[in-house]
Every structure is written in structure tokens, then in C-alpha cells.
């Protein structure tokens, strides 16, 4: 029984974890390696290694599906950074020795840790789920968990597989589909331009029209929020208005986020879409600006007045605070009025469905 000649495996980009029985603690570290005639999937669990070989002649397809995990992690890390900085800001502001460098350094380290994770996640790019299919199995490839690494790996594997199996032209694909699933081609084959459009991008996607109710509520609340903001400038000590403003702020953030998700799946006029995106960015930017201002102002005030916590009246007396509030509320009111007008126009035009061209969302690396 002769053994095969020794050869050197070449590692493919990417790494990932494969959980066993849904328990992350005993997750296997996965990697992909290229051999002379096969791809080796290697799972390392502590001191054991498990191998699966996929021979080039058997590989039928590789599927890459973009996932939202990266965005979820970004939100998570961003939120943790905000929460950490706010906790430390409150702690420093309410302490008797706010000028002490210890808490500031600790806060900077904790926030910096989450910001670093956020930066790393952003740099690694969007996530994806990759699957390799043969005649008898469909195997997930956790190591190709990022679109960038999946594209790089496919760019390496594809020529090797094609060297064994040969290439596929658009005509071959068309014929292959015609033999295996003629139903799918019935619609396109009926049209005279079927041959001409072979290999062309897929047809535009028809989005169902949005009712516009969510956007109407969002923009109405923006106007109400701006009104409450102006009222608070005139009556800074009102407890009810303070609670109402905080509630409105949270509601607006949540609503704008939901509206952003909803408008991806339903048709809306382009200006309305853009205004919603702008409102979302504006709301969060305002919160961040105010948060940073609060942090600095609180620190400065407590340094100047040891043992005192600044009230809203003190804040309003600080340089630039009133201007920030007035600008933000004015912009909120303007966005609300414009949004209501655009939503009304959209509804009055009969809420037409919109065809979205299927532009590539994530350009892959050029093929070799």
C-alpha cells in the first residue's frame, strides 16, 4: 500500500470557528488548505485535528451569502463604547475629585478597548456564510466568514478547480440549467432577447410600495421633539418636559432605525429615503455631540466648582450649549416638515412600486 508523495499544503485566507452542539466553548478553529488535488478543511479542537478533503474534481459549487453579523458587531461595540464612556463621565462628574487622572485614564482605556474592537471589525469588512457543495454534501466553510477572505480564497481555488474540471461559459450554464431545470428558463427563453441577455445582470427587483405611516409618525415626532426642545430652552427646570424630551429622543432613535430597515424592503421616493437616512445620522450625531459636550462641560464645571453638580441652568449658561440646542432643534423641525411634505407627496402620487437595479453591493476582488 504505497503512500502518496509528501507535499506542502498552502493555507487559504480566513479563519473561523465551528461550534459543536451549539456550545461556543468547545468551538473548533477552522482553516482551509490547498493540496495538490484537493482542499483540506481543518478543524482544530484543543489538541485534536479533524480533516475533510474536497477533491477538485468533485466540487460542484461554492456559495457566498452576505450576512449582517458584521453590522451587529459594529452596533454592539459602538454601543458598549458609548455606555462605557457615559458611565465614566457620570462617575467622574459626580466624584469629589474630578480632576484625578485615574478615572479618566481608566475610562479612556475601557472605551478605547471597544473602539479598537470596532475599528478591527470595520477593517475586516462585511461578514458572509460560505458553503461548498459536492454531489453528496453541502459543507459550511466557517473560515471564510468575511466577504474579503472568501473572495481571495475563491480567486485562488477557482483556477485550480477549472484546471481539473474545465471552465463554464455562459452558454454552458444556460444549457446546463435548461437540462436540469427548464422551468426556470421558461420565462427568459420565451423572450427573443433571451440569448442576447445571457450572462447579463439579473432583472430589476420590484419593491412593494410602503404605506408611509411609519415615516409620517417619525417626522411628526421630529416636529414634536423640536417643539419640546424649544420649550425646554424657555422653561429649563420643567421635570415633565425633561422626561418627555428623553422619551421622545429614545423613541425617535428607535423609530428612525426601524424606518431605515423598513425602507430597504418597501418602495419609497428617493428624496424621502435620503431624508430618513439623513435624519437618522443627524439624530445620532446630535446625541454624540451633546454627550461629548456634556462630558467636557461637566468636567470643567466640577473642576471650577468642587463639590457641585451642574444644573440645566448652569449648562445653558455655558458657551455654545444654547447654540447647539437651537441648531439641533431647528434642523429637527426642518427635517420633520420636509419629511411630512415628502411623505404626503408620495402618498398623493399613489404609492407606486419602485424597481431597484440589482447593483452589486460588495465588489469582489478581480479574478486572476
Amino acid at each position: 500500500m504505497s503512500d502518496t508523495a509528501p507535499f506542502k499544503y498552502r493555507r487559504l485566507p480566513g479563519r473561523g470557528n465551528r461550534t459543536r452542539g451549539g456550545i461556543p466553548v468547545i468551538a473548533a478553529r477552522c482553516s482551509l488548505w490547498v493540496g495538490p488535488d484537493h482542499i483540506l478543511s481543518l478543524d482544530r479542537i484543543m489538541t485534536n485535528e479533524e480533516y475533510k478533503r474536497f477533491y477538485f474534481r468533485d466540487i460542484q459549487s461554492i456559495t457566498v451569502q452576505r450576512t449582517n453579523n458584521s453590522s451587529a458587531w459594529n452596533w454592539g461595540f459602538g454601543s458598549f463604547a458609548l455606555i462605557t464612556i457615559s458611565i465614566f463621565a457620570i462617575a467622574i462628574g459626580s466624584s469629589n475629585q474630578p480632576s484625578s487622572p485615574g478615572p479618566i485614564i481608566a475610562g479612556a482605556i475601557c472605551t478605547g478597548f471597544f473602539l479598537l474592537l470596532l475599528a478591527v471589525n470595520l477593517l475586516r469588512g462585511p461578514t458572509c456564510a460560505c458553503k461548498l457543495r459536492t454531489a453528496v454534501q453541502t459543507e459550511p466553510l466557517p473560515s471564510l466568514g468575511r466577504v474579503r477572505s472568501a473572495s481571495k480564497a475563491i480567486a485562488i481555488i477557482k483556477p485550480l478547480i477549472e484546471a481539473v474540471q474545465g471552465g463554464l461559459s455562459p452558454e454552458d450554464i444556460f444549457q446546463g440549467i435548461a437540462q436540469t431545470a427548464p422551468d426556470l428558463l421558461q420565462t427568459s427563453a420565451a423572450s427573443p432577447s433571451a440569448t442576447a441577455t445571457r450572462g447579463a445582470p439579473p432583472p430589476p427587483i420590484e419593491l412593494p410600495p410602503s404605506s408611509g405611516i411609519l415615516h409620517t409618525i417619525l417626522y411628526l415626532l421630529l416636529i414634536v421633539g423640536a417643539g419640546v426642545g424649544f420649550y425646554r430652552l424657555l422653561h429649563p427646570d420643567g421635570k415633565f418636559s425633561q422626561l418627555l424630551a428623553a422619551f421622545l429622543r429614545l423613541t425617535l432613535c428607535a423609530l428612525s432605525f426601524i424606518a431605515l430597515i423598513r425602507q430597504r424592503k418597501f418602495a419609497l421616493s428617493r428624496p424621502l429615503r435620503n431624508l430618513t437616512i439623513g435624519s437618522f445620522i443627524g439624530l445620532f450625531s446630535f446625541m454624540i455631540v451633546l454627550f461629548v459636550y456634556d462630558f467636557i462641560a461637566n468636567l470643567t464645571y466640577t473642576m471650577q466648582h468642587p463639590g457641585h453638580v451642574p444644573t440645566r441652568m448652569d449648562y445653558l449658561g455655558m458657551p455654545g450649549y444654547r447654540q447647539i440646542i437651537v441648531t439641533a432643534n431647528s434642523l429637527e423641525a426642518l427635517a420633520g416638515i420636509a419629511g411630512l411634505a415628502l411623505t404626503a407627496a408620495w402618498i398623493s402620487r399613489g404609492r407606486q412600486s419602485v424597481a431597484i437595479p440589482p447593483a452589486p453591493t460588495e465588489p469582489s476582488d478581480p479574478q486572476p
Binding site: 500500500m1 504505497s2 503512500d3 502518496t4 499544503y9 493555507r11 488535488d37 483540506l40 481543518l42 484543543m46 489538541t47 485534536n48 485535528e49 479533524e50 480533516y51 478533503r53 477533491y55 468533485d58 466540487i59 460542484q60 459549487s61 461554492i62 456559495t63 457566498v64 451569502q65 452576505r66 456564510a129 458553503k131 454531489a135 477557482k158 478547480i161 474540471q165 474545465g166 471552465g167 463554464l168 455562459p170 454552458d172 450554464i173 446546463g176 440549467i177 437540462q179 436540469t180 431545470a181 426556470l184 427568459s188 445571457r198 447579463a200 445582470p201 439579473p202 432583472p203 427587483i205 430597504r264 424592503k265 440589482p358 452589486p360 453591493t361 460588495e362 465588489p363 469582489s364 479574478q367
Partner: protein, 196 residues
Amino acid sequence: MLSCPRCSKPLPEAFYNSADLLPCPSCHTPVRLEVFPAFFNPPPAGTAGETILVEGESSCFYHPSKRAVAACESCGRFMCALCDLDLNGQHLCPACLETGKRKGKLKQLENRRVLYDSVALTLALWPLLIFYLTILTAPITIYVVIRRWNAPTSVVGRTRWRMVLAAVIALAEIVGWCFVIFFLTHVNQLVRASHR
């Protein structure tokens, strides 16, 4: 047909080998498909052994009524088309394939390995957290290093630095324990001498 991994709806032909992530027409999830000729070519059907018609023809070792088509490259037994197992151009009989897999002689079929270099390093390093354990684990590490020095490492190949490092750490632990034991007994003797 290939379908969307998320909504399981079949994807149109424009998605095949598109080189870009394209939104699924049904669920809008960006998908990329790389398809190869094996997808459209059905796998070759298995062949059954042919029955011997002429007397004196060589027959299969496992199926005496079937005509032999090849000899096993490991044991030399004649095999019919059914028993002829092709393993990357190597013709093997079922028994040799099973034996080769069990004994690890067929690297292509090896699907699991214990990395003894990692075992040794784990044994040398982790007990340092509870230092007293090293009095037991250090000799075990040395035993693993000596016993498994020639054991195969990862299939993808890696050097033996883990083994060397584990041996060095384990030896250091043993030397440390010897020193501690010597020091304790020596001090004890000195204390007793001073009491006298």
C-alpha cells in the same frame, strides 16, 4: 438548481459565476455563486461485476462468480468491477482500504489526528496556574515528549518546537522541584542543628 441559501428560492442563471454579490430576487440577500462543470455533470454510475461466461477466466476473490478486472495494488487479489475501489488512481480491494484506513497507512482517508506536541505543551504550561500540579505533570510531559517524539504532527505540517519547548519547561519544573526539596531538607537540617 442552486437556490438562495437564505430563502431557498432558485436563483436565475445570471447569478452563476457572476463574480459579484448580487441581491436575491426574493429576499434581497446578497449572494455569489461559483459553479463548476461537475454541477451539471451527474456523478458516474457505479458498475456491477460481470458474470463469468467462459470457464478458466480469472474471477474476483470476493465474488467467485464475477469476472476479475483488476488486481489490488496492496495485496494483489483479483477484483471484479464492484470491488475495485479507485482511490486517486490507486486500485484497492475493500479489505485493504479498510485496513489502510484503520492503520493510518492511507493518508487520504485519515480524518483525525491527535497533536502530541500540543498535548505536551498543554501539560507543561497549564498546570503552572496551580503550581503544585507540576510535580505530577512535569514527569508526564517528559514521558509524552520521549514516547511521542516521532508521532506525526499535523497533516499540514509543523515543526517540533512545541515538543522542545514543552521538554524545556518540564525540565525546568523538575529542576525547580528538586531545588525546593533540597532547600527544604537542607534548611530543616540546619534548623535542627541550631536547636541542638
